[in-house]
């Protein structure tokens, strides 16, 4: 492999890996606070993509109830992205109230939450299908304004063309990760979140309103899912209501690879899987998805606590 | 000590265990002889339960050997150790809460009363007979610790003291040679403690057991144990008969204080 191809693959991997990372951060935040996996996270990812599509002035097809519908206004991409992510966050908070909180209040088996979140995912996905149909939607080409399609990082003779979208994706991801790291480690809310993650009862004895923080966590989680849904679909396309499901599954692989509930782990795991996939030769691209699960499987057997996790000591 | 035959049953040799950066057990060595009641004391976090966990195979020491009747325990898994006659109770009680008291005792009984799975599965008379036998053995043990009523009730519903006694019955069902009791008197009142003390002596004599016990209640330990080991920060700071330990200046400084 020559150097420019290597670099190109590397940058591609970094770009998609950084989206895996922010998507997985949302997953892992909820896990660290509540010890549950929210299977609807992938559905929110999809929802975010559709929200942005609509807000940026996209028109819907003819299959759903909202056939040919279009918003009367058109927001610039950055605004659409932010608003759509906020909406995704709000939907996730609503989901938490309806599908998770009642179970928590009844002290239900955590397994039930898996089932309940799958039920919620079914609702969201099928609602999307009912409303706007199952067709593929592509963002307009000039969605980012008048930026060039690709930027050459090499020389004229040895081009290393990186799509502008991917640079934007990477940039946005870096900003998000930085903000989140600051929030968790240096703010009062972040410290309270860490306290809840360690022991909810203790947190409430310290005067921390855990219900409110759980709500904040779900909002952030949904926000991150929405933003990553938009980023992925703006660089490829919205491949129908189900396209978040497989992404959700991959996110699961990322967070376990990095260590469940571990924030640097989600980032590292995301980048690792993104890079690993980018280096799969095109002849074997059918096996690309197997990479993440193969890595995951091996990791679970060798180091169940994940790359970045600390060894769990069981208290007797 | 003199009235017992002095044969070692258990030898800890330089046992060491680290958790993270913390030395939980630091090069501890001692020998327990057959038929004695041996006390293990020290503040919480001194490494007592960690030693029990290593003796019962729940964790493996980083260094050192544990010799039990000629075998090295550090190479065995916990179920193998249990099958070889080391039974234990747990500090925080680990009863099978939603199983009945009887079933709790039946589980270890079955380890020694192997039945033919097929006969058992088909409910053949042979299997039923075997089952009756284990039932009556389990009931005897429950009787012994003073639990004969409501044995088909969920273990969860028993009072705290009864649960502690149920754990002892369950441990005895393994037909152990060595019994490890982790804070058996915790949460008992004065009169309950006295009868527990009698029960421990009784089962030692009746089943020809060796007993190691972790306990915080100093008067109980001093009256019950024939020898005592004192741990502090993972180190063995004193070992000997109760009088000796009680007056050891090291123990007074680190643990007992001057009252």
């Amino acid at each position: 492999m020559d150097f420019s191809l290597f670099l190109q693959n590397f940058l591609n991997g970094l770009s998609i890996g950084s989206v895996y990372a922010i998507f997985a951060l949302g997953y892992t935040l909820v896990f660290s606070i509540l010890g549950i996996i929210n299977f609807a996270h992938g559905a929110i990812f999809t929802l975010g993509a559709y929200f942005t599509y609509a807000l940026a002035g996209g028109k819907f097809g003819f299959n759903g109830i909202l056939a040919n519908a279009q918003l009367p206004f058109q927001l610039p991409f950055v605004m659409a992205l932010l608003l759509s992510s906020v909406l995704s966050g709000l939907v996730t908070v609503l989901l938490e109230r309806l599908a998770f909180k009642p179970l928590r209040a009844r002290n239900a088996d955590p397994l039930l939450t898996l089932v309940s979140s799958l039920g919620a995912a079914l609702v969201i996905v099928n609602l999307i299908q009912y409303l706007v149909g199952a067709e593929i939607y592509t963002f307009p080409a000039n969605i980012y304004g008048n930026l060039p399609e690709a930027i050459n990082f090499g020389t004229a003779t040895k081009p290393i063309n990186i799509r502008t979208v991917q640079i934007i994706v990477f940039g946005v991801s870096v900003i998000i990760v930085t903000c989140l790291t600051y929030l968790i480690n240096y703010t009062k809310v972040g410290k309270a979140l860490q306290a809840i993650a360690e022991d909810t009862t203790t947190a409430s004895l310290l005067g921390i309103n855990s219900e409110r923080l759980i709500m904040i966590t779900f909002f952030i989680s949904g926000f991150l899912a929405g933003i990553s849904g938009t980023l992925v679909s703006s660089s490829v396309s919205i491949a129908g209501p189900y396209f978040g499901i497989s992404f959700g599954l991959k996110g699961l692989a990322v967070i376990v690879l990095g260590g469940l509930g571990n924030i640097p782990g989600a980032i590292g795991g995301g980048l690792l899987i993104g890079l690993a996939e980018a280096f799969v030769p095109s002849d074997y691209s059918g096996y690309k998805d197997a990479i993440s699960f193969g890595l995951l499987f091996i990791m679970l057997l060798v180091r169940p606590q994940g790359l970045f996790g600390k060894k769990l000591i069981q208290k007797v | 000590m003199t009235k017992h035959q002095i044969t070692p049953i258990l030898q800890l040799n330089n046992i060491t265990k680290k958790f993270g950066g913390l030395l939980a057990v630091d090069a501890v060595s001692f020998t327990v002889v057959q038929n004695e009641i041996f006390g293990l004391i020290g503040p919480n976090g001194a490494g007592k339960t960690t030693i029990f966990n290593m003796l019962s195979g729940l964790i493996t020491p980083d260094l050192g050997q544990i010799n039990y009747l000629g075998q090295d325990l550090t190479k065995l898994q916990s179920y193998q150790i249990a099958q070889r006659g080391i039974a234990r109770t747990f500090q925080n009680l680990r009863l099978l809460g939603n199983l009945s008291a009887l079933e709790n005792v039946l589980v270890p009984c079955n380890v020694h009363h192997k039945t033919d799975f097929l006969a058992d599965f088909l409910g053949l008379p042979k299997a039923q007979l075997a089952q009756k036998k284990t039932y009556s053995k389990a009931k005897e043990l429950l009787d012994l610790v003073g639990l004969s009523d409501n044995i088909k009730q969920q273990a969860n519903n028993f009072s705290y003291g009864d649960q502690r006694r149920l754990e002892i019955a369950r441990a005895l069902a393994l037909e152990p040679k060595l019994l490890l009791l982790d804070e058996p008197a915790a949460g008992m009142n004065t009169s309950e403690k006295a009868s527990l003390s009698d029960l421990i002596r009784q089962i030692r004599d009746q089943f020809n057991l060796t007993i190691i016990l972790i306990e915080h209640h100093i008067p109980l330990v001093m009256s019950l144990c024939e020898r005592i080991a004192v741990l502090d920060f993972g180190k063995l700071i004193s070992l000997g008969e109760p009088e000796q330990v009680k007056n050891d200046p090291l123990v007074i400084e680190a643990y007992l204080g001057n009252e």
């Binding site: 996996i37 309806l98 599908a99 179970l103 009844r106 239900a108 088996d109 898996l114 089932v115 309940s116 799958l118 039920g119 995912a121 079914l122 609702v123 969201i124 099928n126 609602l127 009912y130 499901i245 599954l249 699961l252 692989a253 376990v256 469940l260 059918g286 998805d289 197997a290 699960f293 193969g294 995951l296 499987f297 679970l300 057997l301 169940p304 069981q314 | 729940l58 898994q77 916990s78 179920y79 193998q80 249990a82 747990f90 680990r94 009863l95 099978l96 809460g97 199983l99 079933e103 589980v107 270890p108 079955n110 380890v111 039945t115 799975f117 058992d120 599965f121 409910g123 069902a173 393994l174």
Partner: protein
């Protein structure tokens, strides 16, 4: 009556398969193990049937010989069993959600292999799997006895010492170990039984559905099977049977309401977990019925 069977025959047979898939999740759960490997083994069993019947066994006129189906079932059981033992020894050291995720990863690896290999027909899958019966309804002759047999076996298993050991592990594996129980052995046993069951159901399903592809046994079906158990009731084997039948039938019954049926189905699943946290069928309920 005939009309009823013509309309609902297909559905009834599917629900019986659903019940057995529920039991295949329930079996490892008896030992407290949340394994979601069933879709993987189900898919594997189906491919064994599809490949053998379309590529290896001789084509004959008329219906597919039942003894060939028998050979497929036995072969699926053996292969699933061997694979499950190997996999089980590897993954059953993991606990709780980690085990669930490892078994999901196993299912995904099977799925991606099926999508890419030639022998499994790639993304298209395998078509024209031969029928052993003239009418689809005749599958009842296999599904009903099989379900009854499986239920009886699970019922008896719970009564034995092995059943007691499994329950002990379910409640507290560490305590069970220190009571002399080799928990690994029992966990692998329960896991393997579940895998064999899923494999056999897959084998029969492949014939029943006439076609088999990588969409059989995906990740979300593993959670659906888990829903069979949890919404049906995870404390007695009647629970997953009931849950499997109910949740397989529900989307079909809802077909009348048209496009929003899967939305309603999702809502019902959420409501089911909230209002029946113990599941519909609980041991107490069964006791009441007996009285």
């Amino acid at each position: 009556m005939a009309d009823f069977f013509n309309t609902y025959g297909h559905l009834i047979i599917s629900t019986l398969f659903g019940a057995m898939l529920g039991l295949s999740i329930y079996l490892p759960l008896m030992a407290g193990q949340l394994s979601l490997a069933s879709p993987g083994f189900y898919s594997l069993g189906g491919y064994i049937a599809a490949i053998l019947s379309t590529q290896f066994f001789p084509r004959s006129e008329g219906t597919y010989p039942l003894h060939f189906l028998g050979v497929e079932v036995i072969l699926s059981a053996i292969l699933s069993g061997i694979l499950a033992i190997a996999l089980g020894i590897l993954v059953l050291r993991l606990r709780g959600i980690y085990l669930a995720i490892a078994t999901i990863a196993f299912g995904e690896i099977i799925r991606i292999l099926a999508l890419n290999l030639e022998i499994t027909g790639g993304a298209v899958g395998i078509f024209g799997i031969p029928q052993p019966f003239d009418i689809p309804l005749a599958y009842l002759w296999i599904a009903i006895p099989l379900l009854i047999l499986v239920m009886f076996l699970v019922y008896r298993l719970e009564k034995t010492n092995v059943g007691l050991a499994l329950r002990a592990i379910q409640v507290d594996e560490l305590a069970a170990n220190s009571m002399g129980i080799n928990s690994t052995k029992y966990k692998v046993l329960a896991f393997t039984l579940g895998a064999i069951l899923a494999g056999i159901v897959g084998t029969i399903s492949a014939h029943f559905l006439n076609t088999w592809n990588a969409r059989q046994g995906t990740f979300d079906s593993s959670i659906i099977y888990l829903a069979f158990v949890l919404i049906g009731g995870s404390k007695t084997f009647v629970g997953p049977v009931f849950g499997g039948i109910l949740l397989t039938a529900l989307p079909e019954v809802l077909r009348e309401i048209g496009n929003i049926r899967l939305i309603i189905f999702g809502i019902l699943i959420v409501l089911g977990t909230i209002f029946f946290p113990q599941g519909f069928i609980t041991p107490n309920l069964l006791k009441k019925w007996r009285k």
